[in-house]
C-alpha cells in the first residue's frame, strides 16, 4: 500500500467507521449546494440602512461597548436553574490545601474498601 493510500485509510471503530477526508468532501459539496441556493435569495438587502439595525423591543440602543454580554452572564438561565448543583461544587472547592489532603484520604479509603483490604 502506498503512503498516499494509507493516508486515506478509514478508521474502524469496532461498530462503525470514520473517514475525515470523506467528511470534508461531503461538507464542501453541502456548502456548494447552500451557496447555489443562496443565489436564488432576495437581493434587496441594503447594508448600513435601517434594515440592518438591531430591534430591541423598542428600547433605545446603548453604546456598542456596553452591549457586550460578559462571560459570567452568558449562561445565566442554565446556571441559575442548576444553582443548587453549582453551589455544592463551589463549596467543595474551598481552596484550602488541608481539604485537598482530606479528599485524597477519602479516595484512598474507598480504594481500600474496593480491593477488599477493609
Amino acid at each position: 500500500m502506498s503512503m498516499f493510500e494509507s493516508l486515506l485509510n478509514t478508521l474502524e471503530t469496532g461498530s462503525g467507521f470514520w473517514n475525515p477526508i470523506v467528511w470534508l468532501v461531503s461538507i464542501l459539496i453541502i456548502f456548494l449546494i447552500v451557496h447555489i441556493l443562496r443565489g436564488f435569495g432576495n437581493k434587496n438587502y441594503k447594508i448600513n440602512t435601517e434594515q440592518t439595525k438591531p430591534f430591541l423591543s423598542g428600547n433605545p440602543e446603548y453604546e456598542k461597548e456596553k452591549m457586550h454580554i460578559k462571560g459570567s452572564n452568558l449562561y445565566w438561565g442554565f446556571t441559575e436553574s442548576l444553582k443548587w448543583i453549582f453551589d455544592i461544587l463551589k463549596k467543595m472547592h474551598t481552596g484550602n490545601v488541608s481539604d485537598y489532603v482530606l479528599w485524597f484520604i477519602i479516595v484512598i479509603s474507598i480504594l481500600f474498601l474496593a480491593v477488599g483490604l477493609i
Binding site: G14, L24, T79, F112
Partner: protein
C-alpha cells in the same frame, strides 16, 4: 508519550522566547524547564520503580519552582505551595508503596516485580497507594483541586509542560495497573477497571461543570483539562474492565484503550494550544478575566483562528483530532454500558458550550476602547501555537495513520505485559 512530551517542550521553548523575554531570572527559568523535562521523560521511560519515584520528585520540585516563577504575584506563590504539599504527599505514598514491594520481592525493576507479584495483602496496599497518589498527580476528581490553582497561576509557557507532566503521572497509573499488576489485577474482589471508569465519569462531569462557571480564562481551561482526563480514564477503565474476558476485550476493550491512549496525545495538544492562546491574550491585554474582555478578534486575528481550532478540537468536533479519539471512546463505552457513552457525549457538548462562552466573551462583540491599542502577539508565539494547531489538524485528518503507527504499539505494549517482562527477563515463562 515521550514524542508528545518532546513536542510540548519544543513548543514551550519557542513560545517562551517572546512570552517571558521581559522577565528577569531567565537562566533559572530555562534550567528549571530542562529539569522538568528530564523528570517528565524519566517518568515515561524508566523501567525501575525507584527511578520512577526519583523522576516524580524531580518533576514536582521543578514544577513548583516554575509555577511560582512570577513571584511578584502572591497567588502564584500560593498555588506553588499547594502544589508542593500535594506532590510531596503523593511522592511519600509512592515511596511507601515501593518500599512495600521491595520488602517482599527484593526487587525494584518493574518487569521483575510484575513477574513475581502475588496480590498479597501488602501488594494490595501498594496498589491502592500507587493508584491514588498517581491519580492525584494526574488530576482525577475529587483530588483535582490543586490543578486549576497550579495551571491557572503558572506562566502559559510552563502550563503546557505541566500538561505533559500530568500525562506522565496518568501513564504511571496505566503502567502500575497493566505492567506491574497485569498478572494479578483480576484477583481484586471489585474490578479496578470499574473504579477507574467511575472516577473517569465523575471527573468528566465535575470538571466540565466547574469550567462552565469560571470567569478566569486559565482556570476555565484548567477545569476543562480535568474533564478531558476523565475521558482518558473512561477509555482505559473500559479496557481494564474487559481485560479478563479475551473475546470482549478483542471486540471492545482494545478499541476503548486505543481511544484512551489516543486521547492522551490529543488532550495534550488541544489543552496545550488553548493555554498558549490564553497566554497570548494575557500577553496582549494583561487581562485574564473573561468579564473584562471583548472584541479581541478585531485586533488578534491569528490568535482567534488558533483559538477556534483549539475550541473545535477539545469539544470533539469533526474533523479535528479530538473527534477521532472521542468516537473510539463513545462507541466502545456504549457497548459496555450506554449510560457511560451518554455521559461522555453530554460532557463533550458542555465543553463546546464552555469554549463558545470564551469565544463570545473574549473574541466577539464590539471593539472595547481599552483594547484599542492591543496588537497581535509576536511571531514566535504564533509559530509555537501554529505548530500545535497543525498537529491537531494532521492528527484529525489522518487518525488511522496515527493509530496504526503510534497508538496500537502503545496499547500492545500495555496489554502484552508478559512480552515486556520476557524482554527484560528472557527466562520468564509466562504469567499466572
Amino acid at each position: 508519550m515521550a514524542i508528545i512530551g518532546s513536542i510540548l517542550l519544543l513548543v514551550s521553548v519557542i513560545y517562551s522566547w517572546s512570552f517571558i523575554e521581559e522577565n528577569s531570572g531567565l537562566d533559572k527559568y530555562y534550567t528549571l524547564v530542562l529539569l522538568l523535562a528530564a523528570g517528565m521523560f524519566g517518568m515515561m521511560l524508566t523501567g525501575d520503580m525507584f527511578n520512577f519515584f526519583v523522576f516524580l520528585e524531580i518533576t514536582s520540585i521543578a514544577s513548583c519552582a516554575l509555577i511560582a516563577f512570577w513571584t511578584n504575584k502572591g497567588k502564584a506563590v500560593e498555588a506553588a505551595f499547594k502544589y508542593i504539599v500535594i506532590s510531596s504527599l503523593a511522592a511519600l505514598f509512592v515511596l511507601f508503596a515501593i518500599a512495600l514491594l521491595y520488602g517482599q520481592y527484593n526487587a525494584l525493576n518493574i518487569a521483575v516485580l510484575g513477574s513475581a507479584i502475588q496480590f498479597s495483602y501488602l501488594d494490595k496496599i501498594a496498589l491502592v497507594l500507587l493508584v491514588a497518589a498517581l491519580a492525584m498527580k494526574a488530576g482525577i476528581v475529587p483530588m483535582h483541586m490543586w490543578l486549576p490553582d497550579a495551571y491557572g497561576r503558572a506562566p502559559a509557557s510552563v502550563t503546557i509542560i505541566l500538561v505533559g507532566a500530568t500525562q506522565a503521572s496518568l501513564y504511571g497509573v496505566f503502567r502500575v495497573c497493566f505492567t506491574l499488576y497485569g498478572n494479578t489485577i483480576n484477583l481484586s474482589p471489585t474490578s479496578i477497571g470499574w473504579i477507574i471508569v467511575l472516577l473517569g465519569v465523575i471527573t468528566m462531569l465535575i470538571g466540565v461543570s466547574m469550567a462552565l462557571i469560571q470567569s478566569d480564562f486559565k482556570r476555565l481551561i484548567a477545569f476543562s483539562a480535568v474533564a478531558e482526563i476523565g475521558f482518558i480514564f473512561l477509555g482505559i477503565g473500559t479496557g481494564l474492565t474487559l481485560f479478563a474476558n479475551n473475546q470482549m476485550f478483542g471486540l471492545i476493550g482494545s478499541t476503548a484503550m486505543s481511544g484512551g491512549i489516543f486521547h492522551i496525545i490529543n488532550d495534550s495538544l488541544d489543552v496545550g494550544l488553548l493555554f498558549l492562546v490564553a497566554g497570548a491574550v494575557y500577553y496582549a491585554t494583561k487581562e485574564t478575566s473573561l468579564d473584562k474582555m471583548g472584541g479581541l478578534a478585531r485586533n488578534m486575528k491569528y490568535t482567534t483562528i488558533l483559538f477556534i481550532i483549539g475550541l473545535l478540537a477539545i469539544s470533539g468536533i469533526p474533523p479535528m483530532n479530538g473527534f477521532a479519539s472521542k468516537l473510539l471512546i463513545y462507541e466502545s463505552t456504549f457497548q459496555l454500558n450506554p449510560i457511560l457513552a451518554i455521559v461522555a457525549i453530554l460532557s463533550s457538548i458542555m465543553l463546546l458550550a464552555v469554549f463558545i462562552k470564551v469565544f463570545h466573551s473574549a473574541f466577539l462583540g464590539p471593539a472595547q476602547p481599552k483594547f484599542s491599542a492591543v496588537k497581535e502577539v509576536p511571531k514566535t508565539m504564533l509559530l509555537a501555537m501554529g505548530i500545535i494547531a497543525s498537529l491537531i489538524i494532521i492528527f484529525g485528518l489522518f487518525p488511522d495513520l496515527i493509530i496504526n503507527n503510534i497508538i496500537e504499539p502503545a496499547v500492545n505494549s500495555l496489554i502484552n505485559y508478559n512480552e515486556y517482562i520476557k524482554q527484560v527477563i528472557p527466562t520468564f515463562t509466562g504469567g499466572f
